[in-house]
Amino acid sequence: MIIDHPLLGPRDSAEFTYMGDARLIDRPNPNDTDAAATFFDYAYLRDNPAGWHRELWFHEAGDRSWLVVTRNTLTHEISKVELARDVARAQGRSK
């Protein structure tokens, strides 16, 4: 597979390490009263769709960026690649 890195352009996916569902960015608030439940859901349950999937890839043999890749799990087509840091910020994560 080829991942079109937003900074570096097309790179073989073999340069990357895969982590999984990009919802792993949405780490729950540990101070919430239902944190035990929300962390269980966060850590263990997955939509695992047959189709478009947003997922985290780490450019281990490259610039060490974490990327959010939107990829179709049926065809492997990739429609979008973003820097995970930008995605995280856009989703309101900060410190």
Partner: protein, 184 residues
């Protein structure tokens, strides 16, 4: 002044195989620079002072005595001759202050210069970079014999500089020699 003698990463003799010459370059001092939050501009200013320009994504500024290349977002590797810049990290830190984090990298890398007509053929069986499309100053991080390396296309068309992990200098050199023999 201390009295310890440095040893080269490998101490390999320069070898010419077919048209390709592979030489260990022991004279490069290195430090990485990473801009801090809010320090991007100040950092860029210092880099411009030092190198003449800020290395763009995937690019090297081939400048003397310091040169530098892009490693990642807001992160660069700066190199200079070891005999004048052994304390390059301190020099940079002094200029950058809190604008950037500086980390000494001289000991982490082995540097090889690969020069010769068949260098592109050799590259093709070493690593996954589009060597024939790269122009002077392009830099790629890539895997060579499973080792994470930087490959810099130098000014001459037949010259690349490879930075590889120092601890694996022997394995990397072996891979270079093998590839050069294969395409010779």
């Amino acid at each position: 002044m201390h009295d310890l003698t440095p040893t080269p990463a490998l101490g390999a003799a320069t070898q010419t195989i077919g048209t390709v010459t592979i030489a260990e370059n022991t004279g490069v001092a290195l430090a990485s620079v990473a801009a801090r939050n809010g320090g991007t501009e100040a950092c860029a200013k210092v880099l411009k002072d030092v190198l003449g320009a800020v290395p763009d994504v995937g690019r090297t500024v081939l400048h003397d005595p310091e040169a530098g290349f892009w490693m990642g977002p807001d992160q660069w590797m700066i190199g200079a001759p070891m005999n004048t810049h052994e304390d390059i990290a301190d020099q940079l830190k002094a200029k950058l202050g809190n604008a950037a984090s500086v980390t000494e990298q001289s000991g982490a890398w082995v540097v090889f210069d690969v020069i010769g007509e068949r260098m592109p053929d050799m590259c093709e069986i070493l690593c996954n970079i589009p060597i024939r499309k790269m122009v002077a100053g392009d830099v790629r991080r890539t895997m060579i014999h499973q080792l994470g390396c930087f490959v810099i296309r130098r000014a001459a068309d037949d010259h690349i500089r490879i930075l590889g992990p120092r601890a694996s200098a022997q394995s990397l050199h072996h891979a270079l020699i093998t590839a050069a023999t294969s395409v010779a």
